[in-house]
Symmetry: C2
């Protein structure tokens, strides 16, 4: 019976799309995962590895012999092998290089040479090129000679003898044009040309804005190198969004759901350590005012309110600004407008919530002056949050850092320590 | 001179892609924005409105007369008008309905009837249909009779007399096939069929997994209703990621960078109010232990450390679980495995960071028992964070809520109040 089940399972797996197999593998605890993985046919191993998350891919590769790994790459294109390369042992890559025909070897070398977040890393080499002096009919006949066309071919690239890109012939235009017209009369030279060293995010923005399916990649002399397709761009957008979310939550990278405990601890320690340092600082700020707290212990109970709301408000500002920076919507003159606006919002919010907080304080402690200090402290901490909520991301950007990473931790640290200082300081001056 | 500049600006605007105009409008303060907007030609108004964010779109529509708005929709497809409809005044929509030909009127009615996050809302009606009993040559001739093909046409839909979907003919296959073969012999019936009531996220997952450019939308009887294309899916993915990020930061929705102060206050108040309530609760928890703090004021300075690290750790767990839920990777049996794993991670982290925190405490206050209480409190708060970090999203999901919304606020509330209670409680029992 067991045997029959296994053969049914095998049959089921053989019918699945590699992406579906990847999802199943990611959802399985380690033991079951490796059992299923051993049942995936060699000719699909490579495609499945491409679809899995980095963390899960690592567990699968660790389970495979070098020979198996080389065999798995045989069914992949050069740009796909390059995507796996960072996870493969050096010996495997050496074998892969030796086994490739010259042209693909050069492509692989090129693909591996581009940095991770560049257009080059998103590029593939599956381009169909034509000449501008032929008729549509010849193009159609040429295509018919191909056994199949690369996925996501929505345009043919028109090049000259030196492989310089002259224009593109959209498949949609090819299909509706008279067979006797020349490529030169139907092609367009209004097209997106990406460069392999461009930042990948720029390519993603272009795909989003102009609704592209594919775009050419050329070198500085307009020589056609390859193309980027929308499926790669979707993966990039999703990965980027996911990484931002992970970083915001204090995870260094995507984590295998069933990673061993120690592996998870490793993935999480950096942000916890940063958090610990900022918490220690906040703690020492409070320590400065221990005398005041001893005299009026209500301060200890009230101070987290000031810090917490400041943090929340600061993160609202940061999120707006980081998003606007990603979309290139901020310049020097608008930066001032933004600061003015955020300061305005913080004053209104400060008076509004400050009043509520003040009343709450008065209701509990029957101390009007304490209530007023709460109100004032909240206004000031929200002001601080607004100012630094604009300035922190702008400064990170100025120094060439990604404002999406670390901004949130920094603003929270400022509004915590700052909030404690403002509130306890005001209380010490006015109440004691 | 002024006049000449304006005419140059006009020329520049006329050459820009509508998406680029939208980006420029979003980056401009209100006055400049409306000036530029008045210079955009009527026939492009609709397309630009489609590309802007909701908040900015509102400012542009407010600036337009009803007549202008109706004129702007004349250049749009039914599905595009439906996207704008929620922002248009009722009278404008009435006029638009009256001005449409019958078929488009029906399409618009259909498009407006689907809920916002459904496949129907992503659908367009630009499908090319063919019959299965014709030869490739006939298909090519039929296409040539069209002046142009809809964007993102990577497949033709094969339907029978009743508009039932029988299969799809990929353009890539059409181009490489012999002109004499029949559609029936080249088409495939392995295809994605979406339903208009499906959740949009499902369609997005299918596009990501199977690298689609377009997919059919059919009703329960397999009748072809329309299609979804990859550009719409990219916009959906980006909006979803953005909204999750905004919610996480406590913004209800996308905000116009240059929104008036009071409008911004409105957009931000909900989460600040939630935050205020949780802060009041935390404050009252501390209030319970005012006697203890009065006796040992160091407690006040140390308690934010326990709460802060607990919050960070809980958010790490939440992020993992929310992501896994979105990818459908968690079932009942793996939920237990996950709790075990997270508890394991929290114990290791608790001992590791607890020791550091304990030593820090001892170094500052020269009080070994206080150090031990800190260590124990951190272990317990991290345990609490791990348990609830798994249980909160699973519970939200069980009750049909989106676990991405609110999970983070809830875990932080728990680790704050819980952390204060655990730490001050332990201190009261063991130290006083």
């Amino acid at each position: 019976v067991q045997k029959q089940n296994l053969s049914e399972l095998q049959h089921f797996l053989d019918q699945l799309h590699p992406a579906d197999i990847a999802v199943i593998l990611e959802a399985l605890p380690m033991e079951d995962r490796l059992l299923i993985w051993s049942m995936v046919k060699t000719d699909r191993d490579g495609e499945v590895l491409l679809e899995t998350s980095d963390a899960v891919r690592e567990t699968l590769i660790t389970d495979m012999g070098n020979h198996e790994l080389v065999a798995a790459t045989e069914y992949l294109d050069a740009d796909e092998i390059a995507d796996l390369a960072p996870d493969l042992p050096q010996e495997v890559m050496d074998d892969v290089f030796r086994s490739l025909p010259v042209e693909e070897r050069e492509q692989l070398r090129a693909a591996m040479s581009y940095p991770e977040d560049s257009v080059g890393a998103l590029m593939d080499f599956d381009v169909i090129t034509i000449r501008e002096d032929v008729r549509m009919e010849v193009v159609l006949r040429y295509l018919r000679m191909l056994e199949e066309m690369p996925d996501h071919t929505d345009q043919l690239f028109v090049v000259d003898r030196n492989e310089q890109l002259k224009g593109v012939l959209l498949i949609n235009r090819l299909l509706v044009s008279d067979p006797d017209t020349l490529v030169a009369d139907v092609m367009t030279n209004e097209m997106i040309k990406l460069h392999p060293d461009d930042v990948a995010q720029q390519a993603a923005n272009a795909f989003e804005r102009y609704d592209l399916v594919s775009a050419s990649v050329v070198d500085d002399n307009d020589k056609l190198l390859g193309r980027v397709t929308v499926n790669t761009v979707i993966d990039f957008i999703r990965d980027k969004a996911e990484n931002d979310a992970l970083n915001l939550a204090g995870l260094s990278e995507e984590e295998d759901l069933f990673a061993p405990v120690l592996k998870s601890v490793q993935n999480r320690w950096v942000w916890l350590a940063v958090n610990l340092v900022t918490a220690f600082i906040a703690s020492r700020v409070i320590g400065l005012f221990e005398d005041s707290i001893e005299k009026l212990v209500a301060l200890a109970a009230l101070m987290p309110i000031i810090a917490g709301i400041g943090g929340n408000s600061g993160n609202q500002t940061i999120t707006m600004i980081v998003r606007a920076l990603a979309l290139d919507q901020i310049n020097t003159s608008s930066a001032w407008k933004l600061i003015t606006k955020e300061v305005g919002v913080s004053i209104v919010n400060g008076l509004l919530w400050g009043t509520i907080v003040g009343l709450f304080t008065f209701a509990i402690y029957q101390n009007a002056e304490l209530g007023l200090v709460m109100t004032l402290a909240l206004v000031l901490n929200l002001l601080l949050a607004a100012l630094l909520g604009v300035l922190i991301p702008l400064t990170l950007r100025k120094f060439g850092r990604d404002p999406a990473i670390g901004s949130s931790v920094m603003i929270t640290a400022v509004t915590d320590s700052g909030g404690f200082f403002i509130f306890l300081g005001l209380a010490t001056v006015f109440l004691l």
